[in-house]
């Protein structure tokens, strides 16, 4: 009990520190330097407190809940931090610790241009908002904090408001997130209507009385609502424009952890509050995961804006997480609880991993952007010589996200593969096909992600500079490097200690009421993780050691035998001409073949405009511009028809607006009578 008290104290301390950070940086608005230091240092302190609190919850099981009554009838500030919440708070605190360190140096290039005080304010509010979202346990309170989190992130997206495109991106985000919130509100209202309470815990105990039809409707509404926040296709359209618009440390947080709050709520509602999921819920989530992961990575390949690539790759990784979650739901409804725990653990593991490597990559991208002043990868090239450390950290992140051993991304994909393999072999034919599809899409996604990040790393850091800006690039500020170093080290550390981390995460899964006292389908020791039915086993430390050891031995042997050979440095073979940067492969060129192969899905477009020297005699073009892109099929086939439909309906509704005040009074009267009749019946 003592530790529960300690962890709740640290939890409140974190929230308080963030609040102080928020208000303080607003107060120091006039002085950029002071606002930056105040805002980010309190963010760091808050993150440390949050880390301690959630670590106690995760490792010592010191879950806590408390309630701050308020004067309003339905609103009670009730917090409930169990292990699931603890895990998400841990991820949020962990990432925000390093993004805040990074921000100390990164924010400097906004001095004199933008208001640092408001940045610190919204940044701290955003952090607090995410943590409260993962711990609120009352509907009304949750919705309010959800809104605060969304609004804070909206203001962070439009922070660089002098660029018009950022305002547009912000507006799209604003609209999409509120459409999502509308669905969430509707889902919660249905739950409230069916159970008569706003408290998650009481809803959970009364859920047996809710009709299956209501549950199914709540499932669809919640999936759309929280899926919009998580960025599942086709509700993802805000993500690739909003994430790049925000300052890079905020993009790191948004992609790394904010979209995970959507995942958190999906787990919370489907696996905790509304127990007893029918089979089709899992199948739907599995299919959405398969589609999101495959399409996400394909769209990532079509982009040459470095932050958009990362944003699309977040959609891909959310898809991968949903593959784990979906398989878990299916196993659970088929009463294969040990494997349901495997799926859920895999999903949680990938959530943590994606948070780590995606924030690392966004921070690396931010470091590059602040030197290059453009997000266009075609203007980079050769940066590894100018920013060697940033390049190294980015490389580790790229390897991790491409699921290469011995990094953490590989392990979580391995776990998800195991749960999908079990689905293929161990389930009946009615869902086997879904697992087959999911495993296939995951296999292709892995390969395509590797291609995507060879492209990003190659175009950014390798070969020769493609614009003169590169020659002026310097290694980034020390706080930027500390932030990136810590996360890069984490990709490796989590990878090597995968067994221990798995143990902690299966504790999280076992803490859910539905999985309590059922053993997982796997065993995990610090050295090996494997399935109990001996289907597969893996040892991450051994992979790491053998790679290092064998490489070292090979290097030593080759060195021993060839140390007398000379190395001459010369120019790259140029076929007799002078090599220019334009002869290198570009990011667009690199991905061109895969786009051509998937043209049926991606619908690439090409616009050519030629200006002639003489318009009448069209033989000698002066300039020729080729614009490559992809058709936005979601806007074309989904949002535009929806828009047209809404406008049409509005046209009809408009007819009741006559502008005559007597008419309006009549409407009010009719409404009153109708309400009275309904109440009377």
């Amino acid at each position: 009990m003592f530790s529960a008290f300690t962890s709740s104290i640290f939890f409140l301390a974190a929230l308080t520190l963030w609040m102080i950070g928020a208000i303080g940086s607003l107060a120091f608005m006039k002085n950029d330097q002071r606002a930056n230091l105040w805002g980010n240092f309190f963010a760091i302190f808050g993150a440390v407190a949050g880390l301690i609190s959630s670590f106690l919850v995760l490792v010592f099981g010191s879950a806590f809940s408390f309630n701050i009554p308020s004067s309003l009838h339905l609103l009670s500030l009730s917090f409930n931090v169990d292990k699931l919440s603890g895990f998400f708070i841990f991820a949020i605190s962990l990432i925000s610790l390093f993004t805040s360190i990074y921000a100390l140096g990164y924010v400097k290039h906004y001095y004199k241009k933008y208001n640092i005080g408001t940045l610190g304010f919204f940044y701290n509010i955003f952090l607090a908002g995410m943590v409260i979202v993962s711990s609120a346990s009352s509907i009304l309170f949750f919705l309010i904090v959800w809104e605060i989190m969304s609004l804070a992130s909206y203001f962070l997206v439009i922070f660089e408001h002098k660029e018009r495109s950022n305002i547009q991106a912000g507006s799209l985000y604003f609209i999409m997130t509120h459409i999502g919130t509308a669905f969430i509100t509707l889902a919660f209202l249905l739950l409230y209507h069916a159970t008569g309470t706003l408290d998650f815990e009481i809803i959970k105990s009364n859920i047996g009385a809710v009709k299956p039809l209501t549950k199914n409707i709540v499932f669809i509404l919640a999936l759309i609502g929280f899926g919009t926040k998580a960025g599942i296709i086709p509700f993802h359209i805000w993500l690739p424009s909003a994430h790049p618009a925000a300052p890079s440390h905020v993009s790191a947080l948004m992609s790394g952890v904010m979209i995970k709050t959507g995942i958190y709520m999906l787990i919370r509602i489907f696996m905790d509050i509304m127990a007893d999921a029918p089979l089709w819920w899992g199948v739907v989530i599995l299919l959405i995961g398969a589609i999101s992961s495959l399409l996400g990575v394909l769209y990532a390949l079509t982009e040459h804006d470095i932050k958009k690539v990362l944003a699309y790759s977040s959609i891909e990784n959310i898809g991968i997480i949903l593959l784990g979650l979906g398989s878990s739901l299916i196993f659970w409804s088929m009463n294969m609880k040990p494997f349901a725990i495997l799926g859920l653990t895999a999903a949680l593991f990938h959530t943590l991993n994606h948070a780590v490597f995606k924030s690392l990559l966004f921070m690396g991208a931010g470091a590059v952007i602040s030197e290059m002043h453009t997000r266009n990868m075609e203007e980079y090239g050769g940066l590894i010589k100018y920013m060697p450390q940033t390049a190294f950290f980015f490389l580790l992140g790229s390897m991790s996200i491409s699921a290469l051993p011995p990094f953490n991304g590989f392990f979580s994909e391995w776990l998800i593969f195991q749960s999908l393999f079990k689905g293929i072999s161990g389930s009946d034919i009615s869902v086997c096909w879904a697992f087959m599809l999911a495993a296939g899409s995951l296999a292709f996604t892995g390969g395509l992600a590797a291609m995507c990040f060879v492209n990003v790393f190659g175009a950014t850091f390798l070969a020769r500079p493609r614009s003169p800006e590169v020659y002026h690039a310097k290694e980034s500020n020390v706080t930027l490097r500390i932030g990136m170093f810590a996360l890069a080290a984490l990709t490796l550390v989590i990878g090597i200690t995968a067994g221990t981390v798995t143990n902690i995460l299966s504790g999280v899964a076992n803490d859910l009421a539905i999985f309590r006292s059922s053993p997982p389908a796997y065993y995990s020791t610090p050295l090996t993780v494997g399935l109990k039915n001996n289907f597969a086993s893996i040892s991450m430390p051994f992979i790491f050691i053998s790679l290092v050891l064998v490489s070292a031995i090979i290097f030593f042997i080759v060195f021993l035998f060839t140390r007398k050979r000379k190395i001459k440095f010369g120019t790259t073979w140029d076929c007799g001409t002078t090599l220019s940067p334009r002869m290198e492969i570009t990011a667009t060129g690199f991905a061109n073949s895969i786009i051509a192969i998937f043209r049926g899905v991606l619908k690439p477009t090409k616009q050519v405009s030629i200006k002639y020297r003489d318009e009448n005699m069209r033989y000698f073009p002066k300039t020729e511009t080729v614009k490559l892109g992809t058709k936005d099929i979601y806007r074309g086939y989904f949002y535009r028809p929806l828009h047209i439909f809404t406008i049409k309906v509005s046209e009809y509704v408009k007819r009741i607006q006559s502008g005559n005040i007597n008419m309006y009074i009549l409407y009010i009267l009719l409404t009153l009578i109708a309400i009275l009749l309904i109440v009377a019946v």
Partner: protein
């Protein structure tokens, strides 16, 4: 046991150049040439290790480091797949997915090294290589997965041991999976109809384009690693799909026979590859995905038949 393990580790790098030599010799014979000796690849490696190196000024540490990593990965892979004995089933690296993703690691660094020097060829080669690698992964995982389901384990040694005890009549789906595997094998090892290992023509080369800037000892390592990779895929094909004759016990006396059988199987597969290369033309690049998807579909059919 330890002698067998040492043999297991050095077998792949020791005989992989020979495989390449044999394939080249057969191809030469089929083209009515005499061809170089089957030991020529060893001499080439020896020669390259004795040469000085020229490295591009544009190259970063990735270009210099990649050959060592790539070669090391092939050594690790060679030690963690079944060659002539199945006794290493407690080997912690012989999981199917670990092997596949080690191959991905290798391709990843090869592609980065190709881009690194900034030549027009390297980047294009990397782009093509990654395109093919991305599309191959599905077929590669699924073709071996079919066997894993029938062996109820993804450990490659266990798969070999289990398949070797299967009755002859349960082999129909395994043949399908083998067809799928062969397609991915040709893609991964840069063979016809995916790539021409003998070409240096801008329009067609894939693997050769990436390693164009290498010379001296690093080229030797890359060439040797490519040979290792070829042998690894042959060994996977031979021992997972047709594991008869593989030694199931730790008994040293069984090893010579198992070794000879292994070499015979590798020889047969080498001949198969050489004949295939001599009898079909290289496909147009954009027809290759069809082939790779075929491999994926074949594996799925195999899996459906097995589960």
């Amino acid at each position: 046991m330890s002698i067998i393990f040492i043999l297991q580790v050095i077998l792949v790098p020791a005989i992989s150049p020979l495989c390449i030599g044999i394939v080249k010799k057969i191809k030469a014979k089929l083209q009515n040439r005499t061809g170089a000796s089957i030991f020529q690849p060893y001499k080439d490696l020896w020669k390259l290790f004795h040469k000085d190196e020229v490295i591009s000024e544009d190259a970063s540490w990735i270009f210099k480091f990649a050959p060592y990593l790539i070669f090391s990965v092939t050594i690790i892979l060679g030690a963690s797949i079944p060659l002539f004995s199945t006794i290493f089933s407690d080997n912690l690296l012989s999981d199917l997915l670990v092997v596949v993703y080690f191959i991905a690691l290798l391709t990843f660094f090869l592609a980065l090294a190709g881009i690194d020097v900034g030549s027009a060829f390297g980047g294009l080669g990397s782009s093509r290589e990654m395109t093919l690698a991305a599309l191959t992964e599905g077929g590669l995982i699924f073709s071996m997965l079919a066997l894993a389901f029938s062996a109820k384990s993804t450990n490659l040694f266990t798969i070999a041991a289990t398949i070797s005890s299967l009755s002859f009549f349960s082999f129909a789906p395994i043949i399908l999976a083998f067809g799928a595997f062969v397609i991915t094998m040709l893609a991964e090892t840069s063979r016809f109809p995916f790539d021409n290992p003998a070409t240096h023509l801008e329009l067609t080369m894939i693997h050769e384009a990436m390693i164009l800037e290498y010379s001296g000892k690093r080229l030797a390592l890359i060439e040797w690693a490519a040979a290792n990779k070829f042998l690894i895929f042959l060994a996977l094909g031979a021992n997972l799909f047709f594991p008869w004759g593989i030694s199931l016990s730790a008994n040293l006396a069984d090893v010579p026979l198992a070794l000879i059988l292994f070499l015979v199987k590798i020889l047969i597969l080498s001949i198969f590859v050489a004949v295939l290369e001599s009898s079909i033309a290289k496909f147009r690049f954009f027809r290759l995905p069809d082939l790779l998807f075929t491999s994926f579909i074949l594996s799925i059919i195999a899996i459906c038949l097995i589960i």
